[in-house]
Assembly symmetry: C2
Homo-oligomer: 216 residues x 2
């Protein structure tokens, strides 16, 4: 009973967030009214406010939900195939595969992060998570010998995140932007920054210190 009602409550909250997400994607945070969101959720304002105390709490809830989901995806990644396949898979997944809906939603969250400390906090802690995950990944790869250990990891990670931000940004502004097309360049750059990149290391990674990138 106790358990079931808590589950019900949690489901309702998830439904409301999903409805709010659709509205925000369609009209933006400021363009979507609470009435719109209530209609989308099939619910009266009075009832909706029993689950979330304010409009801001809705977008904070969305941000938190997505942060948690992506952190889980990081944790679930299979690291046993070497560094570069993992990076490539990740890049493909996060830069190209993610639905545009999520990209647009992200711009709404970011735009609001500037004005609402709660959202800024969530977004900052997301950043910390990503940094830590990438740092662990690179350090493990260095220990395994996939890449040299004397690289400026922090700098590389910053640049990877900058590029990821830039791709999301452009995907949001230009519906025709072809994220898939920049992936090869992205990987080439990544390999270059990590100075280890033999172009095809899937099965048997060459452990060669190769400064010149091979051209094909």
């Amino acid at each position: 009973m106790r358990r079931a009602s808590a589950q019900l409550q949690s489901d309702r909250r998830a439904e409301i967030l999903a409805a709010a997400q659709r509205c925000f994607v369609r009209a933006g945070f400021h363009g979507a009214s609470m009435q719109d969101i209530c209609a989308e959720a099939g619910m009266s304002p009075g009832n909706l406010y029993r689950y979330f105390p304010s409009k801001e709490a809705l977008i904070a809830g969305i941000a938190e939900r997505d942060r948690a989901e992506i952190a889980q995806q990081f944790a679930r990644a299979d690291l046993s195939h070497g560094l570069f396949p993992v990076l490539e898979g990740m890049a493909h997944h996060f830069l190209a595969e993610r639905p545009r809906e999520q990209v647009l939603l992200c711009t709404e969250v970011m735009a609001e992060a500037r004005h609402h400390p709660d959202i800024a906090r969530i977004s900052a802690s997301f950043d910390v998570d990503v940094r830590k995950w990438l740092g662990d990944l690179l350090r493990a790869a260095a220990e395994r010998g996939d890449i040299p250990g004397d690289i400026d990891f922090d700098g590389v990670i910053t640049m990877l995140m900058v590029i990821a931000d830039g791709v999301w940004w452009r995907r949001a502004l230009d519906p025709d932007f072809n994220a898939e097309a920049v992936l090869p360049i992205f990987m080439d750059i990544t390999r270059h920054m990590l100075r280890g990149g033999s172009p095809k290391p899937a099965d048997k990674p060459k452990r060669v210190f190769d400064i010149k990138e091979s051209v094909r």
Copy 2:
């Protein structure tokens, strides 16, 4: 007379845009009311509306003004010192030197571009300008022999713009972000992209980051 009054009108418009800019930076587009902007401009609403027909026109005016200004800076660049010094100067100027105020303003403009076609048009045409300028620059450099001519210019330009977007994005979200620090990496990447030949899509490596079957 005719001339003087036109000049006066134009000055007044510029003053209003400057006031609006301060308000938007401080509180965001939606957080700043027309009353706020009028107060900042030292002007009554009735009078302000003689210069701009709507609030949207204010941010469109700001976007257009900055677009024009930056295009002028491109035109004024000194190309006689070779490609990489020019690129480095540009990077330093646009990524690190620009005041944070402008970075924040840019996020406001971009966030609104999604909802107002006028602003989207300005931002898109800005993109076209930058692409063209960078294209000309690279082509001239190739003719001069600074870089090979068989590079995937479009891909490189896209990546340069992605990185620029990413840096602005991060500067906006994190006041402590040190753009200066990523410049060496940025230049290293740029040199690599412009020297290593065009990275054609390599054979597809195994994807190790597939999470699609995560249904429970």
